[in-house]
Symmetry: C3
Subunit: 217 residues, 3 copies
């Protein structure tokens, strides 16, 4: 394995670990789960996005599922939360930074992988975003809340920027590690600024829902 | 492309656009989403059913995902909702008619495609229904409400009739555009009558849930 | 078909029927569904786990979906619930026993099938558990409640034990029907003991959720 590939693998595993940690922590805080639920949701958060991407690319069994290192990193993150949820809440800022690393790496590596499968550039950008945010979306749907990524904060938008930059750099022939780092850094920066200044994506104007009043369901 | 194929493509794209529109509108009314959520849910509503069908048929990457025209139609519907949600609420009757076109086209085209993959007739009917209602089901699950299709109105039943007629016509050798139109028209008619007269599918008798009282979860 | 294969098929179909029955019954009790919802959720409970397994193994179209006998067993279970939900509630103990049979057969057959696809042992155990609990998880997510398997009772843990025993027996060369029965019996026993003595998996300590108070979503 080249030095570049090794570096990308290490970053990918750090991202997987951080997603497992953050996903399990979010799950623990949002719902009363047992150890099965905490581990399941941590692993789904960490690996769900990559699995959806690989299903849509027809690269089955999914890469993160085949490779025991991803399984281990995801499960380790989730189990640490099960054992140390309370102290971890105190370092939630650090965990959000690690999570931003994961978001950036996943958006760029997901989009780059999709380009390698000969899919169109728009589809590759979408798959980059799906890799980055798909796991957290599945997690939120499973604990019965509207996915955070769909209603507050900047999460999908930095992933979109990172994935789009990765695809553009491949299209113009500016490949390699430097291009990936520029794309990932842009994603990371927007994500961290969004956290720091509590930025949100624009919302539509409020629309009444006469057919399905909130009390009915 | 033959005239028949072009016509089917146009109807399919109209259906995709209408599903994107209606899906995003339902999502906006049911939950407080930002632009990411509105676009995501509009696109999932429009393309989710076809994607599930293509995963189960092993036709990957999914057809609607590969073809930029479907992506564009779905995204356009969702973005229009983001910009014009309030005025669109006033023409909700028109949108429901367009949505009924989508339902009919998807049920028939989904079932016909499945038959072309050499799957059994019962499975082809199921995949026709899945194509038609799968996207809306995913949307409702993501905004945290029990899918409408499972609890009120006539939505899956007209899709079932349309898909079954399409499969029967293929089995008896009555192929071609006319057969597809008869099947789609039957679906459309039942759907519109259901809307007009507020028909519902039969419900089971109420059963108590002593183990999981509503207040617990 | 050999006697062994026929026996395994019969057990698999009993499990599918029981999952359709129990899945539909749980769905009826948790949400107000019409016949479309009851049948859909019964079939998803019965076949969802096997379908997820086959997607991840790239064995598409999924085995249970291709084979009309599984479709029939699942639909029969769901339709019986639609017609006889009230009297069935009285024999819920018997249904839970049948469901435990399904859990045991699915965990062992899912893990064994995965080993036959040349996937790693840890992945095979995971796929055994997914086969056993995946359908019920989808069902709960669709009716908007946090999956039971993630928060109470012993359900995934007996499946894990059964799947792990099946994988170990294949790894040490102790194959065949006897090995499968030992693994399934261990799963069944733990599940039934868990039901009898209301055992739960360990939970993490309670963690406050200051960012997302329960009233906000």
């Amino acid at each position: 394995m080249s030095g570049e590939a090794a570096l990308l693998l290490v970053l990918d595993l750090i991202g997987t670990f951080a997603f497992g940690l953050n996903g399990a922590l979010t799950a623990v805080r949002a719902a009363r789960l047992d150890i099965v639920g905490v581990v399941t949701l941590g692993m789904i958060t960490a690996m769900g996005g990559g699995i959806i991407r690989d299903i849509l690319l027809d690269d089955l069994p999914p890469a993160t599922f085949r490779d025991w290192r991803y399984l281990t990193a995801a499960a380790a993150g989730a189990l640490i939360v099960f054992a140390f949820a309370r102290p971890l809440v105190r370092v939630v800022g650090l965990i959000e930074l690690l999570d931003a690393v994961g978001l950036s790496v996943f958006a760029v590596s997901g989009a780059s992988k999709a380009m390698g499968f000969g899919i169109g550039p728009a589809q590759a950008v979408i798959l980059g975003v799906v890799t980055a945010v798909g796991g957290g979306t599945l997690r939120d749907a499973l604990v019965g809340r509207v996915p955070t990524v769909m209603r507050k904060g900047l999460y999908a938008i930095p992933a979109f920027v990172g994935a789009a930059l990765a695809v553009i750099s491949i299209l113009i022939g500016f490949k390699g590690l430097t291009a990936s780092f520029v794309a990932a850094a842009a994603c990371f920066l927007i994500r961290v600024l969004g956290l720091r200044f509590s930025l949100n994506a624009p919302k539509p104007r409020k629309v009444p829902d006469p057919e399905d009043p909130p009390g009915e369901d």
